[in-house]
């Protein structure tokens, strides 16, 4: 619960001054790594190289990757163009054009919903801001590369077509959905 003087833990004795013993010790460490990687078994091996793209790391459940827009049961987008994500985005990368929905009960839908992926900073504030659970970043893939800047602007149709990963819980939302219970109950 106090102070430790780091110099107490090291010394500059004959051992350090005749530097060969320390070099030999160092070599032993690196050779140890070498042999355990070359001839060891799965537990002792420490090879971190992932041969991408044949081998790929699985990103954790919360990983914020490519965005997607969710659909209702009938296939229409959940998004009602409320502009919350556009307003919450610190990079101003979401552009929405609202329009009258052909379905009278929904009233509003996005005629255009574009995310400029080159501006996006992958912070997830749009997901937090959505009041309809319409946008999530749980596709588990990172944004694909583009050849031109215009390709980086992803539109509504493409965003609607992406699927979430099976088995990943939604970033927010339905898991806390209570059926009309008052607070505290």
């Amino acid at each position: 619960m106090g102070v430790v003087r780091v110099r107490d833990r090291v010394e500059y004795s004959l051992y350090e001054r005749s530097f060969v013993p320390e070099i030999l010790r160092g070599l032993a460490i690196t050779l140890g790594h070498f042999f355990s990687n070359a001839f060891g078994n799965k537990e002792t091996r420490n090879l971190q190289t992932v041969r991408y793209p044949e081998e790929q790391r699985v990103y954790p459940a919360r990983y914020r990757g490519q965005h997607r827009l969710l659909q209702r049961e009938d296939g229409s987008s959940r998004c009602v163009a409320c502009y919350m994500c556009s307003t919450a985005c610190p990079a101003y990368c979401i552009h929405i054009v609202a329009a009258e929905s052909p379905d009278n009960r929904i009233e509003k839908y996005p005629a255009a919903f574009e995310i400029d992926l080159l501006r996006c900073i992958y912070c997830g504030l749009c997901v937090e801001a959505c009041p309809e659970d319409a946008i999530r970043m749980d596709t588990g893939v990172h944004t694909p590369p583009f050849f031109t800047r215009d390709d980086a602007v992803v539109g509504r149709i493409d965003l609607l077509s992406l699927m979430g990963r099976a088995g990943t819980a939604p970033a927010y939302g339905a898991q806390n959905y209570r059926e009309g219970k008052p607070r505290g109950a």
């Binding site: 009602v80 163009a81 409320c82 502009y83 919350m84 307003t87 609202a98 329009a99 009258e100 009278n104 929904i106 009233e107 509003k108 009041p131 309809e132 009309g180 219970k181 008052p182 607070r183």
Partner: protein
């Protein structure tokens, strides 16, 4: 002077005032939904309840007359509890509509929730369902679920518009606003009900879903729909005007604006040009950069500058006083035109409230400037006559706001030189040799004089884009290239010169027009009268 004590402070009031009127003057905030400073008192929302000492219950501040010596508390626990409770009751059946409701961002329910309620919902049951897309009229749509039945809209139509097309139907929980069978909300002032509605129950069909209120930037200007010159706010985003809203002015339009004026919101957007156009031969005009266009305009106007005959210059009646002055100086000093014309819109509908037949916002100002400068303008028919007969061979057309556009363009087709300065591509731009891009009134700093002979200030809401410039800047540029250099570095210098040079404006104090305008000492015509 009678006085009451409001939260410990002594406040004077006029006899006959209510507590809320005194409080609003003192900038003490009392929340309210159904009260409106320009409508009668209904006292049905109960949000303005305050504690009045010696009264058994909390009193509605909008209805309770202020009496001398009254002690009122608006910030104690009793009042705060009441505000929380009233607000909770108002929200019991309110639909979960914010994402699809246009009122979001300017909704009193949202604002007062954050100020006065801040408590979660205790509702367990299903909320009441009512009709959600009632088109009450061509411009107004009603959502009964969001309505709190404050009756502001009903009272507005009764008292201000003098056309009781709305009423409350059914009772209690089932109350709804509606029109009687056979009646439609087609009054010329119907969109004001959308303004007074504190929630998203009444919304405008012309603005529906176009843009979110908080994305819009607001500037102050004057409506250009007719000569009444109602004061407005212009809401725009990225150079596109989305809507016009009324601005308070006790002398002109109180807090109201007619539907026709609101519909002029799209004029700055329609056909807007920000790049110059040049037409070679009989081809269609093509875009070019500002410098090339200016050079071409100078090249075309140079030989006419001292020709003395055959040159016409017209100004739109939508021009500001300052633009009219600069135009007048230009045609006298530089162009020496022998035909001066005024183009404008034809007269339209009028009523005894706000709408005036003259649909040009600055006839009074432009005519006064011309009269003082000795310019005698001809009208459009005469102009077209002179063009057809050959008396006019060249034409400088400033402004495109005219009802005779196609005919003027046809008449001008045979002219040698047509130089056009306008913010939109109309029929005249199709025949002009050079079109220099101007700016619309929402991007102009200037003054209009309305039918009441009141000078009112327009403020530019956003800067001109690309090569667009205000009219006076183009005229000054051309003038300096033709050898006449005007020393007007700012609007203030132009205004000061108008005051000193033009007798009508001597007392006008044009450099200091306040936001609600200055009444000029000119004769007021009969059509300026209003019952509003």
């Amino acid at each position: 002077m009678p006085s009451l004590t409001l939260d410990g402070k002594k406040v004077d009031f006029q006899p006959g005032e209510t507590i809320i009127q005194a409080a609003t003057r003192e900038n003490v905030e009392i929340p309210y939904y159904c009260w409106h400073p320009r409508l009668s008192v209904a006292a049905n929302c109960r949000m303005c309840l305050v504690e009045v000492e010696k009264a058994p219950k909390l009193m509605p501040a909008c209805q309770t007359a202020a009496t001398d010596g009254m002690v009122v508390h608006t910030q104690n626990e009793k009042v705060k509890d009441a505000q929380r409770a009233v607000h909770e009751f108002l929200l019991v059946n309110h639909p979960i509509d914010c994402p699809i409701c246009d009122q979001a961002g300017e909704c009193k329910l949202q604002d007062y929730y954050m100020e006065y309620q801040l408590a979660p919902s205790r509702v367990v049951e299903h909320k009441v369902n009512k009709p959600r897309l009632e088109e009450l009229g061509p411009h107004v749509v009603y959502n009964a679920e969001r309505c709190i039945v404050c009756t502001r809209c009903v009272r507005f139509m009764d008292e201000v518009a003098q056309n009781p097309q709305l009423g409350v139907f059914n009772r209690g929980d089932h109350s709804e606003i509606g029109c009687a069978p056979g009646v439609v909300l087609d009054d010329a002032y119907s969109l004001n009900t959308v303004d007074v509605c504190p929630v998203g129950a009444l919304t405008s069909t012309i603005f529906r879903f176009k843009q979110r209120a908080w994305n819009l930037k607001r500037s102050d200007s004057v409506c250009g729909g007719c000569a009444r010159g109602c004061n407005i706010h212009v809401d725009q985003r990225s150079g596109v005007v989305y809507r016009l809203l009324p601005r308070d002015n006790d002398a002109v339009n109180k807090s109201w604006l007619c539907d026709e004026g609101r519909l002029t919101y799209n004029r700055p957007n329609e056909g807007k040009i920000t790049e110059a156009l040049i037409r070679e031969g009989q081809d269609a005009p093509t875009t070019t950069d500002g410098v090339a266009a200016l050079n071409k305009a100078v090249e075309l106007l140079k030989p006419l500058a001292n020709a003395g005959k055959g040159v016409a210059a017209t100004l739109s009646l939508h021009a500001t006083v300052e633009e009219a002055y600069v135009f007048g100086r230009f045609v006298k000093d530089v162009l020496k035109a022998d035909t001066i014309g005024l183009v404008g819109l034809l007269p339209g509908g009028q009523d005894d409230l706000l709408r005036v037949a003259d649909k040009n916002p600055n006839r009074a100002g432009v005519m006064a400037v011309f009269a003082d400068m000795g310019l005698k303008p001809v009208d459009e028919r005469e102009l077209m006559q002179r063009m057809k007969s050959g008396t006019v061979k060249a034409w400088l057309a400033v402004g495109h706001e005219t009802s005779f556009g196609p005919e003027l363009a046809l008449a001008a087709k045979g002219l040698e030189v047509v130089v056009h300065v306008a913010y939109a591509r109309g029929p005249i731009a199709e025949v002009a040799r050079v079109t220099l891009p101007g700016v619309s009134w929402v991007q102009t700093d200037g003054t209009w004089v309305n039918v009441q002979q009141r000078a009112q200030r327009l403020k530019a809401g956003f800067l001109p884009e690309h090569d667009a410039k205000p009219t006076h800047a183009w005229l000054m540029d051309i003038a300096s290239r033709l050898g006449v250099a005007y020393a007007w570095p700012s609007m203030t210098t132009i205004r000061a010169e108008i005051e000193s040079q033009l007798p009508s404006f001597r007392e006008a104090k044009l450099t200091q027009v306040p936001p609600t305008g200055t009444q000029l000492p000119w004769a007021v015509p009969a059509e300026a009268a209003s019952k509003i």
